[in-house]
């Protein structure tokens, strides 16, 4: 049983609930143990850096420190949290001065961080630690001919430059084919969804969402799969507004990749938070036949 220090992040308690439940389901189905970091705090998201950089690092550092105590890798399902954690971690390793400031603050909470535990995104854990082979073996319900648009978004990829390919990554596609779906190849998969602009500059954000929907729909995707609650909300919840703004009729379901994995692993839709969407994922349910009715944890 692989163990990890799990950092859900605020969104998974509210807007991203279904991400949370499906993550838990899939994790236990794949023999991955996610121990929630006790009494974690908000990572500051993107709205914090504008106020104070150091403070932003400290917020994340507190969670990292707690993870370090357990000696486990720090895993975040939310791309924004992941990006903040990843860079806080690597910067404080590189920059002794920064580390000193951070730890001075952490002292007040009798914590200390040295950047020893690795920071991972949930999807990496499934892909690299569990592995395609392992997942394939556990798939009872391949999502045959389901055309999925893998949406990476920004923060999971950038500003990192040290992973496989910044501009044209392939691992998400790999995961989707592993669960039997067919990933579509579309250019916008790493384009930004607008992030917090949805609040601070609605017009801009809607336009960015529109372009993503346009590209996915033009490639006749049945569903868009996301790796981040922020992206998920922007792409799903605001489709109505996009339609109103631009006179389009988009109505394409948006699912967390964990939800799709769950279906493929034969978990009942209800337990994956499917059915709570703004844009019905009913079409997904078609793929949910022969899911075990009883789940034994």
């Amino acid at each position: 049983m692989k163990q990890y220090a799990y950092y859900p992040g605020c969104s998974l308690e509210s807007l991203g609930k279904s991400y949370h439940v499906s993550t838990m389901e899939v994790a236990c189905a794949l023999g991955v143990e996610l121990n929630e970091i006790e009494d974690w705090n908000c990572c500051g998201a993107t709205a914090y850096f504008p106020v104070d950089e150091l403070l932003a690092y400290i917020l994340t550092a507190r969670n990292l420190a707690k993870a370090e105590k357990t000696g486990l890798d720090f895993v975040a399902p939310c791309s924004a949290c992941y990006k903040n954690a990843y860079f806080t971690n690597s910067y404080l390793q590189k920059d002794a001065d920064l580390a000193e400031h951070i730890n001075y603050a952490l002292e007040a909470d009798n914590l200390h961080v040295s950047g020893t535990s690795k920071v991972r995104h949930l999807i990496e854990v499934f892909i690299n630690d569990v592995g395609f082979e392992e997942i394939k073996n556990k798939v009872t319900n391949p999502l045959k001919s389901l055309r999925v648009a893998p949406y990476y978004g920004c923060q999971i990829l950038r500003p990192r430059k040290d992973h496989e390919d910044v501009e044209n990554p392939q691992y998400f596609e790999g995961l989707l084919s592993t669960i039997g779906a067919d990933p579509i190849e579309y250019a916008s998969k790493t384009r930004c969804c607008g992030g917090s602009l949805i609040v601070t500059n609605r017009k801009a954000a809607l336009d960015m969402v529109r372009i993503l929907l346009l590209d996915a729909v033009n490639h006749n995707a049945d569903v868009i799969a996301t790796t981040c609650p922020m992206c998920n909300v922007n792409l799903e919840v605001y489709q109505d507004q996009v339609n109103r703004e631009f006179g389009t009729q988009y109505s394409i379901p948006v699912m967390y990749f964990t939800q799709l994995m769950g279906l493929a692993l034969g978990i009942v839709p209800g337990h994956l938070g499917i059915g709570k969407e703004q844009i019905s994922g009913a079409s997904m349910l078609a793929f949910a036949q022969n899911t075990k009715q009883e789940r034994n944890l």
Partner: protein, 669 residues
């Protein structure tokens, strides 16, 4: 104190004097180093000037100097100068020591006091060292008159012809089946637009027919032994499977060959060739090559169509690779460049979006001898583009790929723009960061393009996509870029995109450099001896470089370097013999215990052991003077000329005479 030493501190204008208090240094040396034998110490504006040298010579004569220390620039720059000055005054040149207070002091430090202190230390080091110098004579070795030229591109061709015309033997080694290099693939050449093949092929033919040139194509250098004047080079001739002595180059074999192969080398993947082929019609030599990776016979064991039809029975399927060794005195490396692989920039869509072309692909596309007979068409092979976007600086001037400017892309792109407009009348956009036309007739060509109405957008292209947002973009390639001159992002729909990929060093340039004992820059280009004053020589005597192997450059510059390298080699050959630094190791028989430790330390097998006398001896002809054996000898029986223990240890004492404290107080020891 027997030696009479003169110390000369150079101002080098303000280069040294600006930071180092030269007057103080020379005064200090005159006083404090008097007991070390310094009888005179001067500072002068430019020691290397003839006046400066005369100054030294005058002192040598009048002051009866037996040793000279010059504190100026790096010995790699002016050691020869001052040694010759001494020679001119009948003082053995090796009794002169040049210590560097410029490259290693005034240019790299800012604190005047510390720099001056360091200069003093360096001088005292030199003084202490020079005492132990001994009179030496340079070793003279004969120079073999033959020359090896590696690489049959335009630079190599030029070099080979210059030397051969002067009446000396040249071995020209080329990796591909034919000489010609990249230039043979181009259609037109900027800025004159004359046909590349038309000006190149005559030279290629000259090479092929030249009595003094031994052409070794489809061959690679395996091994290089020896040193300047006397290199022994082992060359591997890959099997052609053609008896060149019988082949007439009639072409029936490749006519009859049933196997089509995509030509990724010469046609850049745009066209096909047969399994037995010559890369292009004007190839030199005319003999074809059988590509044993794709030939049906080697795959299935049957076919042999070529053999059946060959009128002169020149086909030989059993031919094996052979090794030839040649003796040469000098070597010229003109190994050229690789094209930057645009696939490394996914956002430009090369390899994903059909109508994104690389510059080499486009050269073939608009080449009359190319796959489309010079018709500029899209990948579908028929439709002509109505709008074309040319992207500059692909992989160049970009720290994510190559930080340097590839020098030729601007002019090349302008050339493309002209050809497209001329042949298709299409609307052409050039996307550039800066337009660089720093050569004769280049700026005029740019003006001409402006007059022709080619559109120029100043901005580095961000991405090329096929995601249409508005009807006008449907079915087009959209170039997304900021037009920096109006400060707006633009999305420009085009039918065809040409990427002006930059140049980069050959993928194997590091290995080749190692093979020939020269060094590479951070970007893997070969390093010249001096970036301005000695651009074609290398740090290794007898090895010269020319063309793009040294750095990105266009055809004229490559030709210039090829000729320059040839001139340097001819100069050496004419000297008949060469003087080598007498830096060698010698073994004192009486002290040698015969332990043979040194024997295995020498990579040149220069140390032989005399069983009879039970002592080792150094073969001066083979010894390269690295001094490892000197350091290794437990009995201290080996001494290294020019770098003896005494010399180094006393230089050490000299350097440590002063501490670094900003007062530069003397150490009392």
């Amino acid at each position: 104190m027997s030696e009479r030493i003169g110390v000369y501190v150079c101002h080098c204008g303000t280069n040294i004097a600006g930071i180092v208090d030269v007057a103080d240094v020379s005064k200090w040396a005159g006083e404090k180093l008097a007991d070390n034998g310094v009888v005179i110490s001067r500072d002068y504006k430019f020691m290397c000037s003839s006046l400066g040298q005369e100054l030294i010579q005058k002192d040598i004569k009048e002051q009866k100097l037996t040793r000279v220390v010059v504190a100026a620039c790096s010995p790699h720059l002016h050691e020869k100068t001052f040694r010759n000055a001494c020679k001119g005054a009948d003082l053995n040149p090796y009794l002169c020591e040049l210590v560097s207070i410029r490259e290693q002091d005034s240019w790299v430090h800012t604190d005047k006091v510390a720099a001056t202190a360091k200069a003093k230390a360096i001088v005292s080091g030199g003084v202490a060292r020079v005492i132990h110098h001994e009179e030496l004579e340079p070793l003279r070795v004969p120079i073999h008159p033959a020359t090896l030229v590696v690489g049959g591109g335009i630079a190599g061709i030029q070099a080979a012809l210059e030397i051969a015309d002067a009446g000396f033997r040249v071995y020209l080694v080329e990796r591909e089946p034919s000489i010609g290099g990249h230039m043979a693939q181009f259609d037109k050449t900027f800025p004159t637009l004359d046909c590349s093949a038309c000006i190149l092929t005559p030279k290629m033919v000259d090479v092929g027919n030249h009595p003094n040139i031994t052409l070794l194509t489809w061959s690679e250098v395996q091994k290089v032994d020896g040193y300047v004047g006397n290199f022994t080079v082992t060359i591997k001739k890959k099997p052609r499977y053609i008896k060149t002595e019988d082949c007439t180059g009639c072409g029936i074999c490749w006519e009859k060959c049933p196997k089509k192969v995509v030509d990724n080398v010469f046609e850049a993947g745009m066209g096909n060739r047969k399994a037995v082929y010559v890369p292009f019609p004007q190839a030199v030599p005319k003999y074809p090559v059988i590509d044993d990776v794709n030939c049906t016979y080697y795959l299935k064991g049957t076919c042999k169509a070529c053999e059946k039809f060959c009128p002169t029975n020149a086909i030989d399927f059993n031919q094996k690779a052979e090794e030839v060794t040649v003796e040469v005195g000098n070597i010229i490396l003109a190994t050229g460049y690789d094209l930057f692989d645009a696939k490394r920039i996914p956002q430009y869509g090369y390899g994903k979006l059909a109508n994104v072309f690389s510059n080499l692909e486009f050269e073939r596309l608009c080449n009359a001898a190319g796959p489309t007979g010079g018709n500029i068409v899209l990948r579908d092979g028929k439709s002509t583009p109505k709008t074309v976007g040319i992207v500059h600086c692909v992989g160049s001037r970009d720290k994510n790929y190559n930080a340097y400017c590839s020098a030729i892309c601007c002019m090349q792109s302008l050339k493309f723009a002209h050809l497209v407009r001329e042949r298709t009348g299409a609307e052409v956009y050039n996307f550039y960061i800066d337009i660089r036309t720093p050569s004769k007739g280049y700026e005029e060509f740019y003006q001409r393009l402006l007059e022709e109405g080619t559109r120029f957008v100043r901005g580095k292209v961000a991405e090329v996509t096929n995601v249409a947002r508005i009807p006008e973009e449907e079915g087009k390639l959209i170039i997304q870029v900021e037009d920096t001159l109006i400060g707006k992002q633009r999305r420009i729909p085009v039918d065809m995109v040409i990427l002006s990929s930059g140049m980069q060093a050959r993928h194997d340039s590091k290995d080749v450099a190692k093979l020939f004992g020269i060094s590479c820059s951070a970007d893997d280009w070969y390093i010249e001896r001096h970036p301005k004053l000695d651009p074609v020589a290398t740090m290794t005597e007898g090895i010269y470089i020319a063309g793009c192997a040294q750095g990105p450059k266009d055809i004229p510059a490559s030709v210039v370097q090829g000729a320059a390298a040839a001139a340097r080699v001819l100069g050496k050959i004419q000297q008949k013999e060469i003087a080598l630094e007498p830096v060698r190791a010698t073994i004192n028989e009486d002290q040698c215990s015969g332990c043979r430790i040194c024997n295995n330390l020498c990579p040149f097998n220069a140390i032989l052991f005399h069983e009879d006398k039970m002592v080792s001896e150094v073969n001066l002809a083979l010894c390269q003077g690295c001094g490892t054996c000197v350091a290794g000898c437990p009995a201290g029986a080996i001494s290294g000329t020019g770098f003896s223990n005494e010399q180094i240890q006393s230089q050490l004492d000299g350097l440590l005479l002063l501490n670094i404290s900003h007062e530069a107080v003397l150490v009392d020891r």
